[in-house]
Amino acid sequence: MPPERPTAPAWWSNDRVGGVILIVIAGLVALDTTTLPIGTLARPGPGYAPLICALILAALGLLVALRRGGAPFSGLRWGEGRHAALILGAGAFAALALERIGFRLTTLAILVFLLGVVERRPPLAVAAVALAISFGGYYLFWNILRVPLPIGPFGI
């Protein structure tokens, strides 16, 4: 049996992808500082510190990108990706709905979605958990801990 040829390390390693992202962020920050007075070395202005940080970030991003070895980016597993996207979607819904339909209805909707649609739990369990957490959580925060939470239509 012929000996196995050593495989070349993947060009797009995790570090390289991370480094490139950092360089892009640094570039965007540096671009944004052009609207601010930079000042001088002796009298730094409001844009000075962000610009210096952006330059350092770009340099470090380059160092990270040039690191040798590291796991190949293509080797990353995204099995939880669908769940992650749906959870982020539920979070975005919460941010949009919280002050419009109130805390109780928002959390009720999120829990029904995550437990019932994403996780496919039994409807009775979904209803029990969603009602307990949304209404119980509201009672705990508003009535006991006196933390104000948004109220929706019809005072719910």
């Binding site: 995790n14 570090d15 992808v17 991370g18 950092l22 962020i25 920050v29 601010l36 007075p37 001088t40 070395l41 002796a42 009298r43 730094p44 202005g45 409001p46 510190a49 962000p50 940080c53 350092i56 970030l57 470090l60 991003g61 160092l63 990270v64 690191r67 796991a71 980016f73 990353l76 939880e80 769940h83 992650a84 959870i87 982020l88 979070g91 975005a92 919460a94 941010a95 949009l96 919280l98 002050e99 928002t106 959390t107 999120i110 829990l111 995550l114 437990l115 996780e119 739990r121 958990v129 957490i133 949304s134 959580g137 925060f141 801990l145 006196r146 933390v147 104000p148 939470l149 948004p150």
Partner: protein, 507 residues
């Protein structure tokens, strides 16, 4: 010394008052739950529960949050030993030998040694905190803006040097935090930076939504969808008594872990995580039976558990004495103090002795409460893990939203949490550490302000950093550490991490 004892007596009079004691015990219970539950580490736990402290006095608030912190440290070990699930990152090393002991039917002694080691380390490190913080605070009264600039730079370089990851990656994450910290109104000129019309960003990005996003939400994004209910082993009370041999073998690792953990705790970074890795590495290297490590060596439980608990107390030294957080958890606790109108800094010990000493005394009390909680009630806590994760994580997501929203009643904070959660998820997949981001975020305004104040004092002369002995000494240490960190790159081979075994991963 007499003054310290008098102050401690004052602290105990505060900590043992029924109201404060109740919140100390509550904090320990909640912290243990946070530590037991995977996906909710101490940082996310403290950040989420911050709104609960709004109606409390500053002393009660800080006692509650501290209880959650070291309760989580204790609780994390339980699931590591019984199920090989580290409740929080600092317990990863405990999984190795703790779980191996469980497989050999020795879960009880493993839990007992972890709890006793944590108790001893927690108590010793509070004594050290009590002795070290006051003189350090007195010394820090000599600090002006140049000294603070040098101190913050030193903190950042130590963070990178001592981190468990690659130095450029750690520094890059700290710099990303520094960039985020520049968002909002510039304190010196009043210019509004990078808000893009979002008025809520004028005060800057809050530490709570970033911490919850990077640590809480990103953890849920990484773990959701994996729903395999763990086998829960519940040891009986009589099985918890360790043998004389176990105790004898654990004494030295516990003491070494206590000293090591305390000093690593003082320096910036994810101290409690690093300390447990370093302690495990050292114990393995100096052991007469290194072959037992990984197969149920009791030293592999006693050392790391002691170290991570000692580090939790050590982390409070710079916070109490200098007003500078050494990690994301003290940073959130500092934010909690500021919400209550208390300004952390060297004057805190003089101006608020009841708060500081009440807090220190509550840590003694908390250690005893946790010892009582963690041994007889271990079965009760592990029952939580019977709840399927598919039920647990949607509830945690809801509590993330409430916790973040309630701090400022702002949906912008909820958006920040979602964005940082997504960024944290992606960067953690790429093996970046998130703790430096939070530390950079809190240090950024301090660093920028002290640098610009120093230059204003000296009419733009950078020589001010060299003419003042304390600042010059700290800057010399910065240069030295920078050269030391470059040395392995020039010479080739490993650095201190490989010597103490920090590069070792749990098997």
């Amino acid at each position: 010394m007499i003054e310290t004892l008098q102050n401690l007596a004052l602290g105990f009079s505060v900590a043992l008052s029924p109201h404060v004691l109740f919140y100390a015990v509550l904090g320990c219970i909640v912290g243990t739950l946070v530590g037991v539950l995977p996906g909710l580490g101490p940082l996310a736990g403290i950040s989420l529960l911050l709104p609960l402290t709004f109606g409390l006095s500053p002393t009660t608030a800080i006692v509650l949050l501290a209880g959650i912190y070291y309760g989580a440290m204790y609780g994390g070990s339980t699931t590591s030993i019984l199920m090989r699930i580290p409740g929080e990152a600092a317990s990863v090393m405990t999984c190795v030998d703790g779980y191996a002991m469980t497989q050999k039917g020795r879960a009880g002694p493993a839990l007992a040694i972890a709890a006793l080691g944590s108790f001893v380390a927690g108590t010793l490190s509070v004594v050290a905190l009590m002795l070290l913080a006051p003189p350090l605070a007195a010394f820090a009264l000599r600090f002006g803006p140049p000294e603070y600039t040098a101190l913050l730079l030193l903190g950042l370089i130590i963070l990178a040097y001592m981190s468990s990851g690659a130095m450029p990656k750690t520094l890059a994450m700290a710099t990303l935090g520094l960039v985020l910290g520049t968002i909002g109104i510039d304190a010196m000129s009043g210019f509004i930076r990078f808000t893009h019309g979002v008025t809520e960003l004028g005060d800057g990005i809050g530490i709570v939504p970033v911490a919850v996003g990077l640590f809480g939400l990103s953890e849920i994004l990484l773990t959701a969808g994996k729903d395999t209910p763990p086998q829960v082993y519940k040891p009986k009370l009589r099985e918890l008594v360790p043998s004389g041999e176990d105790v004898r073998r654990s004494i030295a690792p516990t003491l070494r872990g206590s000293v090591l953990g305390f000093f690593i705790g003082i320096i910036p970074g994810s101290a409690h995580i690093i300390s447990s890795f370093v302690s495990y590495g050292i114990e393995k290297r100096i052991s007469k039976r290194p072959e037992e490590f990984g197969h149920g060596a009791v030293e592999g439980v006693a050392g790391p558990e002691s170290a991570n608990n000692a580090a939790a107390s050590g982390a409070f030294v710079p916070m109490l004495a200098l007003g500078v957080p050494s990690g994301p958890i003290p940073a959130v606790m500092m934010a909690a103090l500021m919400i209550h109108g208390v300004a952390p800094g060297p004057l805190l010990m003089e101006q608020q002795p009841a708060l500081v000493w009440g807090f220190i005394a509550s840590m003694y009390v908390g250690n005893i409460v946790l010892l009582i909680l963690n041994l007889p009630m271990v079965g009760l806590f592990v029952n939580l893990l019977r709840i399927p994760y598919s039920y647990l994580y949607p509830c945690i997501v809801v509590f993330c939203v409430i916790g973040v929203y309630a701090v400022n009643s702002s949906v912008v904070d909820v958006w920040i949490m979602i964005v940082t959660g997504a960024v944290g998820y992606f960067l953690r997949k790429l093996d970046f550490d998130m703790a430096p981001v939070v530390l950079g975020l809190i240090l950024s305004p301090m660093l920028e302000l002290s640098l610009r104040q120093s230059l204003a004092m000296s009419a733009g002369d950078y020589g001010i950093f060299l003419h003042r002995p304390i600042a010059a000494t700290m800057l010399a240490a910065v240069v030295m550490l920078f050269v030391l960190s470059l040395w392995p790159l020039i010479r080739g081979g490993g650095d201190w991490r490989s010597r103490v075994g920090l590069d070792e991963k749990p098997g």
